[in-house]
């Protein structure tokens, strides 16, 4: 028996109000769908579709059918089955933050555009983070051809990390190549379908708009039963209404509209409820994701996902700080604790600062340490019949001590007293003597060990060769298509 910390962010009545407002948004205002596949599906199912505007008004009945057909659980498989992770989960684990534009160079400290090597290093460090279960290419590989870039990022992640991997696609033409990448890495279509070792993350464009190429690509991948993590991202005040309740209602509407489309296309396809909501900086208009308000919204949406009985993950562990250090850690804790206390199965956010725009390798391990500390906090204390240790107190008596005790010896290993991996607990003199290292310095040493060691989970050589072949084919075909599209542009043709 334990006393575990819990928090309620939304009463049952308010949960119903969020749901009802979301249904009104879908039915009365509707959602704009770009692309080719969604509108015909919606129209055939009874949504009121305006082909001219691309807006579909989605009735309550379609939402209810979709929620009924979406699975309530899914096991996120992994290349190494020891990393398989069930959703829902009784504990909270973490995901690597994804697709930042920049990386802080580990050697020079320079902030620069990300590369494929950064994707690899980020995923290798994440592989060593024991609280992490969900990899995501943490940075865009700007050194790869843009037409096939997401495929390179996806493949690099799968090579570098044996945990479950998720990523995104940008065009429909990329979908068959991703299917081939997954078949090669996981040993065939059946393994991909049955073990769900990879998934895609889907972000509607707030407010109430669906990106056509991405949506069509993901619908195409439904034949592989590839799970979709739904991540609406309205920013309260700019792309979302300037009220937290209203913004989560909008985000929830976007998530529900996504579930409707994915379930219409492939009933029973795993759809994971998630979010990445934020607020606007009222002075600059900028994106703020590392705030208490982001944390609250994340927790509320976690509650909504649970109320629908869906596998639910959350955003969090986010920071708007431009550098590592105290501000980053404050932001991250502020956005990690709420979804954790709402019982999210996975909080996505390891490794990035700067409004999710900069990957810092050391931050992955610092965040892992924060995750341990939070878990310890939430685990509370044992309160069972033996928890009082009355006999120990008797034995020590007034003015005695508890040092020479089997209980004390066991306690050092029990988990009730967390032993930090990165926090310094040296005496002051010892700390000064070792160069006064910070938490980040210790993380840096560990990162160096990880990246200088041979990769922990390499692909078999034959698989790696086959993967390279698929990527080369993608470069050639998608690059050629991209060149054709460019050539068709009159303005460029003038050149």
């Amino acid at each position: 028996m334990t006393m575990r910390y819990q928090a309620t962010f939304l009463s049952e009545a308010d949960r119903d109000r969020v749901h009802e407002q979301s249904l009104r948004i879908l039915d009365e205002i509707g959602v704009r769908f770009h692309g080719e596949r969604a509108l015909p599906l919606l129209e055939a199912a009874g949504a009121r579709v305006d082909r001219e505007t691309g807006i579909a008004r989605i009735p309550r009945s379609l939402v209810e059918s979709a929620l009924a057909s979406a699975p309530t659980s899914v096991v996120l498989g992994a290349r190494d089955p020891r990393h398989d992770y069930p959703l829902p989960s009784p504990v909270t684990r973490y995901g690597l933050d994804g697709t930042a534009a920049f990386a802080r160079d580990f050697e020079t400290g320079e902030r620069r555009y990300g590369t494929r090597r950064d994707v690899e290093l980020g995923c290798r460090v994440f592989g060593a983070a024991d609280m992490g279960v969900l990899a995501w290419p943490p940075v865009a590989a700007s050194d790869m051809p843009s037409a096939s870039r997401p495929l390179h990022e996806f493949a690099t992640m799968l090579r570098a990390c044996a945990k479950h991997g998720q990523h995104e696609l940008h065009t429909r033409a990329q979908a068959p190549f991703l299917a081939e990448v997954l078949r090669v890495v996981f040993g065939g279509e059946a393994a991909v379908r049955e073990r769900h070792p990879a998934s895609v993350v889907y972000c509607p464009v707030a407010p109430l708009t669906h990106d056509g190429p991405m949506l069509d690509a993901y619908l195409d991948l439904g034949d592989l039963d590839l799970p979709v993590m739904l991540m609406p991202m309205p920013i309260a005040g700019s792309t979302g209404p300037a009220g937290l309740f209203a913004n989560v209602s909008l985000a929830n509407a976007e998530a529900l509209s996504s579930i409707v489309v994915f379930q219409l296309a492939h009933p029973g396809r795993p759809t994971i409820y998630s979010s990445c909501v934020a607020s606007m900086d009222f002075r600059t208009g900028g994106f703020l994701g590392g705030t208490p308000e982001a944390g609250i919204q994340s927790a509320v949406l976690t509650t909504m996902g649970h109320s629908y009985g869906l596998p639910t993950t959350s955003s969090g562990c986010a920071s708007d700080a431009h550098d590592v250090g105290a501000e980053a850690i404050i932001d991250k804790l502020m956005t990690m604790l709420p979804p954790l206390s709402a019982g999210s199965s996975i909080v996505v956010g390891f490794g990035e600062i700067d409004g999710d725009q900069t990957l810092v390798l050391e931050q992955i391990l610092v965040d892992n340490e924060l995750a341990h500390l939070c878990e310890r906090l939430f685990d509370g204390m044992a309160t069972g019949p033996d928890a009082g240790l009355f006999d120990e107190i008797v034995a020590a008596g007034p003015s005695g001590d508890f040092l020479v005790s089997e209980t004390t010896r066991r306690a050092a290993r029990s988990g009730e007293f967390y032993l930090p991996g990165l926090l310094g607990r040296l005496s002051r003199e010892a700390w000064l003597g070792s160069g006064s290292p910070s938490m980040y310095d210790r993380a840096r040493d560990r990162v160096r060990e990880i990246i200088e060691a041979p990769p922990a989970d390499p692909l078999p050589e034959a698989t790696a060769i086959e993967l390279d072949r698929v990527l080369a084919e993608a470069d050639q075909e998608l690059g050629a298509r991209s060149a054709e599209a460019t050539a068709r542009s009159p303005a460029v043709a003038m050149t």
């Binding site: 843009s146 940008h170 708009t209 990106d211 920013i235 208009g285 409004g355 542009s489 009159p490 460029v492």
Partner: protein, 217 residues
Amino acid sequence: MTQELFDAMRQSVIDGDATAAGKLAEQALAEGIDPLVAIDEAFVPGIRHVGEQFRCGDLFLPDMMLAARAMQTAIAVLEPEMIARASQRKIAGRVVIGTVQGDIHEIGKNLVGMMLTANGFEVHDLGVDVSPEQFVEKAKEVGADLIGVSALLTTTMTGQRTVVEALATAGLRPGVKVMVGGAPVTKAWADEIGADGYGEDAVGAVGIAQALVGAGA
């Protein structure tokens, strides 16, 4: 009466009250006030006041946005009469703005557009998913001084280079300046693709635009 009306027009912009600004503009026309005088002596002082308060931190971005919209509403009412009188409003510069082809994110571009409008620029917003040739055509059509090109994704930001190249090919460079922005965009990227300026946020973009077209703050 005229001074009272001018005060009310100025205040409508400060309050961000587009409905009042529009009605007061109509009243000004009904009273035979020169639309240019109404703009320069009532609405512009209003937006200038809001800009000053914004810069010193007493007002927020939404205050500025609402003031800009009120100003736009008033100008829309006054514009037909200005055309009839063949008079032209003094503007800080003429800007064509849009999000690059293949990208449908528009909030950053909208913020920049509104801020430029609030600061006296004439803004022509092409929306999202804008092809290089659309930028070129609009720049020619309106005689743009400046093109603002937005991109949110690392995969679409290369479209900013294409726009710069298309403008050059059309013979519009270096006369027409180019400013770029968006989450993955940096000053270094702007330099690499030959753009003239980079706005880190909507507020910063105004200063860049003013510098590029030689308009005072």
